[in-house]
C-alpha cells in the first residue's frame, strides 16, 4: 500500500529543489580567484593614453574593479546605480573597458556619465581573461593587500549594493 505513495514522495522532494532553484541564478560560475591575489596589470587609461592604471598603484586601499563596455546593454542598465554609488565616495570605482573601441567608450562615458576614478583600456581582453571574465558587466572587490575578496556577476542593482557590496567594503576598511 505504502509503495503507491512513493511517486508522490519523490515529487515533493523534487518540488523542494525546484522552489529553491527559483531563487538562484544558474548561469553564475563561481570564481576561483576569491581570496587570491588580484592578477597584476598595467594598462593605458581610456582618457589619457600616456597615463597608466596599474594594480601596483592601488595597494593600501579597498577598491572596486568594474568590467564594462560600450556595446553592453546590461552595463547601460547598471550605470545610473554606479554613478549614484560613486557620488557617495564610499569606495573608489575603477573601470576595465573590455574589448571596446576607444572612441565608442569615451563617447559612452561622455553621454551617460563617468563613475570611474579611471578606466583601464583592455582592448584585446587579455586582462579580462586573467581575471576570469566571461561576460559583461562583472565587478570585483579588491582589498588593501591586493587580494580579490568578492566577484559579482551581472549588473549591480541597489539591492546588490545593499546586501553584498557595501557591508563587505565596510568590513574590509576596518
Amino acid at each position: 500500500m505504502m509503495r503507491y505513495l512513493v511517486p508522490l514522495a519523490v515529487f515533493v522532494v523534487l518540488v523542494g529543489f525546484l522552489w529553491k532553484g527559483l531563487q538562484l541564478n544558474p548561469g553564475e560560475v563561481p570564481s576561483p580567484l576569491i581570496d587570491k591575489p588580484a592578477p597584476a596589470f598595467s594598462l593605458p587609461q581610456l582618457g589619457d593614453q600616456t597615463q597608466k592604471l596599474a594594480t601596483a598603484d592601488l595597494r593600501g586601499k579597498v577598491w572596486l574593479l568594474n568590467v564594462w563596455a560600450s556595446w553592453c546593454e546590461s552595463c547601460r542598465a547598471e550605470h545610473p546605480v554606479l554613478l549614484q554609488f560613486a557620488k557617495t565616495g564610499e569606495v573608489p570605482i575603477y573601470g576595465l573597458d573590455y574589448k571596446d573601441s576607444r572612441e565608442d567608450a569615451s563617447r559612452w562615458l561622455q553621454q551617460f556619465g563617468n563613475p570611474y576614478v579611471a578606466s583601464g583600456f583592455d582592448g584585446d581582453g587579455q586582462v579580462g581573461i586573467d581575471y576570469g571574465v566571461y561576460g559583461v558587466p562583472e565587478t570585483y572587490i579588491i582589498d588593501g593587500n591586493g587580494v580579490i575578496r568578492h566577484k559579482h556577476i551581472g549588473p549591480i542593482t541597489v539591492q546588490v549594493l545593499q546586501d553584498e557590496i557595501v557591508p563587505l567594503v565596510r568590513k574590509l576598511k576596518g
Binding site: 529543489f17 529553491k20 527559483l22 544558474p26
Partner: protein, 682 residues
C-alpha cells in the same frame, strides 16, 4: 480595440474553463446528468473564445500594432508576413496562447470523437482538461498577458529574434505543442478512470488512439526541432542535450512506454495501475518542461526570457496538478486490480521490461538535466561547498542513454515474437538466432566498407540490423500464411496495428543507422580560403569564388559563392551567408546545405581574414537525413496503427474474416475477453 476584445475573450474562456472543470466532475460523482451534459458545449464554447483571442493577437501582429507591448517586443514593420504570423508564438506570452489554443483544439476533438464513450467518462475527461485550462488561462491572465498595452506606442518593433526568422519556426512549435498538450488527454483519461474507480481493457482501448496521436505529434515536433537547429545553430549538430530539448524528450520517452503499456492493458487487462501512472508521468513531464523552460532555473540556448515570479506560478500549478493526481493515484490505484497473469518470460513481461527501460531512460535524462540545479540548491543551503558546482553535458547523456537503448533495441526483436502469457525461452532462442547471426555478421563487416572500423559504429549497425532482420522475419512469417494469394493482397490483409508497429520499429533502425554513420564517418575541414582556393571533403572539391554583398527584406548579408565539383565536373553552387539583421544587429551564420538522401554537403562562412579571404567550414555528412527520416517513419507507424479498423465500429466483418484466415497463435484477438477469471489473493 482588437487587443481588448482578445483580452476579454480570454477572461470569458477562463470562466467557461472554471465551469467545465467543476460541474461535470461533480455531476459524474453525484450522478447529475444535466451537469455532466454541460461538458461538451462548454468545452466547445471555450474553444470559440480562445480562437477569438488568438485571432486578435495574430491580427495585431499582421497589422504591426506596436501599441501592444508583446508585438513591439517581437515584431517589426519590415518583418516578412509569414514571420509576423508565426512570430505570434515567438515569445513567452504568445507561446502560452499557442499552448492553450492547442489544448482547446484537443478538447474540441474529444467532444467530437467521444460519442461512443459513457457520459461520466466524457464529463470527467473534459472536466480534467478544463482544470488544466483554468491553470494556463490564469497563468496567462495574471502574469503573462500578451495583450498588455504599450502607451505611447513604439514607433517600430524590436524585431523577432533572427534565429526564429526561419520556416522552422512556422512548424516546429505547433507540432511540438500538439504533442505536449495532447498528453493531457491521456492524462485526463487516466484521472477519469481513477475517479470513476473503473480501470479496465475498455478504458485502455479508448485511451490508446488519443495517446498515439499525441505521441506522433511529439515525435514530429522533436524531429523538426532537431532538423531546424541542425541548419541554424552550431556547425550542423542535430542534438545538444540542451535542457529545453530534454524537456521535450522526457515526455516522449514516457509516452513511448505508455503506448506500449496501453497495448498490454488493452489486450490483456494487465499493467493497469502502471499504465495510469505512466499517463500521469507523461503529462507531468510536459508541465515540468514548461516550468523548466520559462522559470529561469536552467540555462539554455533556447529558454525564454525568465522571470522567477512566473516560475513560482507554474511551480504552484505543477504542485496542484501533479500532486493531486499522484495523491489520487495513491488512494485509488491499490483497488484497481492486477488483471491477467503472465509468466516471468512472456510478451507481457518483455513489454514491461521495455517500460522499465524507457522509464529509467527518462529518469536518467531528468537526473542529468536537473543535477546542476540540485547541486546549486544544496550549495545555497550550505550542505555542499561551492567548489562542487557541476555542469552536465553531452558526454554524460550519451554515456548513459546509449546502453539503455541497446537493451531496448534487443527487446524490440524479441518482444513481438514472444507469446502472450507464457513464452518459452528455447523457442524464442530458435526464432531469433538467425536474425542475431545476420546482424552480427553485417555489423562486423560493414564498418570496413564504410571506411574504418570502430566499436561504436559496429554496435550501431548491430542494433539497426537486429531490428531490420527481425522485422523482416516477422513480416515473412505473417505473409507466408496465405501462399495462394498475391503479395499485395496479403500485405493489405495484415492488421494495421501490426504493420504500424513494424514500420515504427523500422523507423528506429533507420534512425540508428543515421546517427551511427554520421557519428562515425562525418568529415569536415575548417580552412582559410582565398579566392580560387579549393578544399576536398568527402570526395567533392569545393572552390571558394569570393563573397558578395546581398540584401534581404530586413537584413544585410555577405554571401559566399562556393562552386562544388565531383571528379572535375561542376555539380552545384552553394551560397552560405553571414547576415546582420538591421534591428537586432545580431550576426547570424546561415549555412548552405545540399541535402541528398545519402549525404549532406554543409558549408558555412566563418570570418573574413583579410585580402578577400575567409575562414570557411566544409562538412560532408553521410546519412544525416536518415535521422529525421527515421522519426517520420516512427510517426507514420503510429498513424498506421491507429488507423486499425478495430477502433472503428464498422469493421467487425473485417475482424471476423481475420479470425478465420489467420489462425496463427500470436494474432491477439482485439478486445477479446480474458478467458479465465483472475482472482487476486488478498
Amino acid at each position: 480595440m482588437i487587443p481588448e476584445i482578445g483580452h476579454f475573450a480570454l477572461i470569458v474562456a477562463l470562466c467557461m474553463a472554471l465551469v467545465q472543470g467543476t460541474l461535470p466532475i461533480i455531476g459524474a460523482a453525484r450522478g447529475i446528468p444535466r451537469w455532466m451534459a454541460l461538458a461538451r458545449p462548454v468545452a466547445q464554447g471555450q474553444f470559440v473564445f480562445v480562437v477569438i483571442a488568438y485571432a486578435c493577437l495574430t491580427y495585431a501582429f499582421i497589422h504591426s500594432d506596436f501599441s501592444v507591448l508583446y508585438v513591439a517586443e517581437h515584431s517589426n514593420s519590415a518583418l516578412p508576413l509569414i514571420y509576423r504570423i508565426a512570430g505570434v508564438w515567438g515569445g513567452h506570452e504568445g507561446s502560452l496562447l499557442l499552448w492553450i489554443l492547442m489544448l482547446v483544439i484537443w478538447m474540441l476533438a474529444v467532444t467530437v470523437f467521444s460519442r461512443h464513450l459513457p457520459e461520466e467518462m466524457v464529463a470527467r475527461v473534459l472536466g480534467v482538461m478544463g482544470l488544466v485550462a483554468v491553470g494556463f488561462l490564469s497563468f496567462i491572465l495574471f502574469t503573462s498577458n500578451p495583450f498588455e498595452r504599450l502607451l505611447p506606442a513604439a514607433p517600430d518593433g524590436q524585431d523577432l529574434n533572427p534565429l526564429l526568422q526561419d520556416p522552422g519556426l512556422a512548424i516546429h512549435p505547433p507540432m511540438l505543442y500538439m504533442g505536449y498538450v495532447g498528453f493531457s488527454v491521456a492524462f485526463a483519461f487516466a484521472i477519469a478512470a481513477l475517479l470513476g474507480g473503473k480501470l479496465d481493457a475498455t478504458w485502455a482501448r479508448w485511451s490508446r488512439p488519443w495517446t498515439t496521436v499525441a505521441w506522433m505529434f511529439l515525435t514530429c515536433g522533436i524531429a523538426l526541432g532537431s532538423w531546424w537547429s541542425y541548419y541554424v545553430l552550431g556547425w550542423g549538430g542535430w542534438w545538444f542535450w540542451d535542457p529545453v530539448e530534454n524537456a521535450s524528450f522526457m515526455p516522449w520517452l514516457v509516452g513511448t512506454a505508455l503506448i506500449h503499456s496501453l497495448a498490454v492493458t488493452e489486450k490483456r487487462g494487465s499493467f493497469k495501475s502502471w499504465t495510469v501512472l505512466l499517463a500521469i508521468f507523461a503529462f507531468s513531464l510536459s508541465l515540468l518542461g514548461t516550468f523548466l523552460v520559462r522559470s529561469g532555473v536552467l540555462t539554455s540556448v533556447h529558454s525564454f526570457a525568465s522571470d522567477p515570479k512566473r516560475g513560482l506560478f507554474i511551480l504552484i500549478f505543477l504542485v496542484i496538478v501533479v500532486g493531486s493526481s499522484l495523491l489520487l493515484y495513491a488512494w485509488r490505484a491499490p483497488k484497481v486490480g492486477l488483471g491477467g497473469s503472465f509468466a516471468l518470460i512472456s510478451r507481457e513481461s518483455l513489454l514491461l521490461a521495455n517500460n522499465v527501460l524507457f522509464a529509467v531512460a527518462a529518469g536518467s535524462v531528468l537526473l542529468g538535466t536537473l543535477a546542476p540545479l540540485l547541486v546549486d540548491a544544496l550549495v545555497a543551503v550550505g550542505v555542499l561547498g561551492q567548489s562542487n558546482k557541476i555542469s552536465v553535458g553531452a558526454p554524460y547523456f550519451n554515456t548513459v542513454f546509449v546502453p539503455i537503448m541497446v537493451f531496448a533495441v534487443f527487446l524490440m526483436g524479441v518482444g513481438p515474437v514472444a507469446k502472450w502469457k507464457k513464452a518459452s525461452v528455447p523457442e524464442l532462442a530458435v526464432r531469433i538466432r538467425w536474425g542475431g547471426a545476420v546482424a552480427l555478421i553485417v555489423a562486423a563487416i560493414m564498418p570496413f566498407i564504410l571506411g574504418h572500423w570502430s566499436w561504436l559504429v559496429s554496435l550501431g549497425i548491430l542494433m539497426a540490423f537486429w531490428i531490420i532482420v527481425t522485422v523482416a522475419q516477422g513480416m515473412m512469417e505473417r505473409l507466408r500464411v496465405h501462399g495462394d494469394r498475391p503479395w499485395s493482397e496479403r500485405l493489405l490483409s495484415l492488421p494495421k496495428s501490426f504493420l504500424g508497429m513494424q514500420l515504427a520499429h523500422l523507423g528506429v533502425a533507420v534512425f540508428i543507422l543515421g546517427v551511427t554513420v554520421i557519428g562515425g564517418y562525418e568529415n569536415g575541414k575548417d580552412v582559410r580560403m582565398e579566392v580560387g582556393d579549393t578544399v576536398e571533403v568527402g570526395g567533392y572539391t569545393f572552390r571558394f569564388d569570393g563573397v558578395i554583398d546581398a540584401t534581404g527584406p530586413n537584413y544585410e548579408a555577405s554571401r559566399g559563392i562556393i562552386s562544388v565539383f565531383k571528379n572535375g565536373t561542376p555539380v552545384m553552387e552553394l551560397n552560405p551567408e553571414k547576415r546582420v539583421y538591421r534591428v537586432q544587429r545580431q550576426p547570424m551564420t546561415i549555412a548552405a546545405i545540399d541535402g541528398g538522401f545519402l549525404r549532406h554537403l554543409f558549408v558555412a562562412l566563418g570570418e573574413p581574414v583579410g585580402n578577400g579571404a575567409w575562414s570557411v567550414r566544409v562538412y560532408y555528412k553521410p546519412l544525416v537525413s536518415w535521422i529525421w527520416l527515421g522519426c517520420v517513419m516512427m510517426a507514420l507507424g503510429g498513424l498506421l496503427a491507429i488507423s486499425d479498423r478495430r477502433y472503428r465500429t464498422l469493421a467487425r466483418k473485417q475482424r471476423e474474416s481475420l479470425q478465420e484466415q489467420s489462425g496463427t497463435a500470436n494474432v491477439a484477438l482485439p478486445s477479446a475477453p480474458v478467458l479465465t477469471r483472475a482472482e487476486v489473493k488478498s
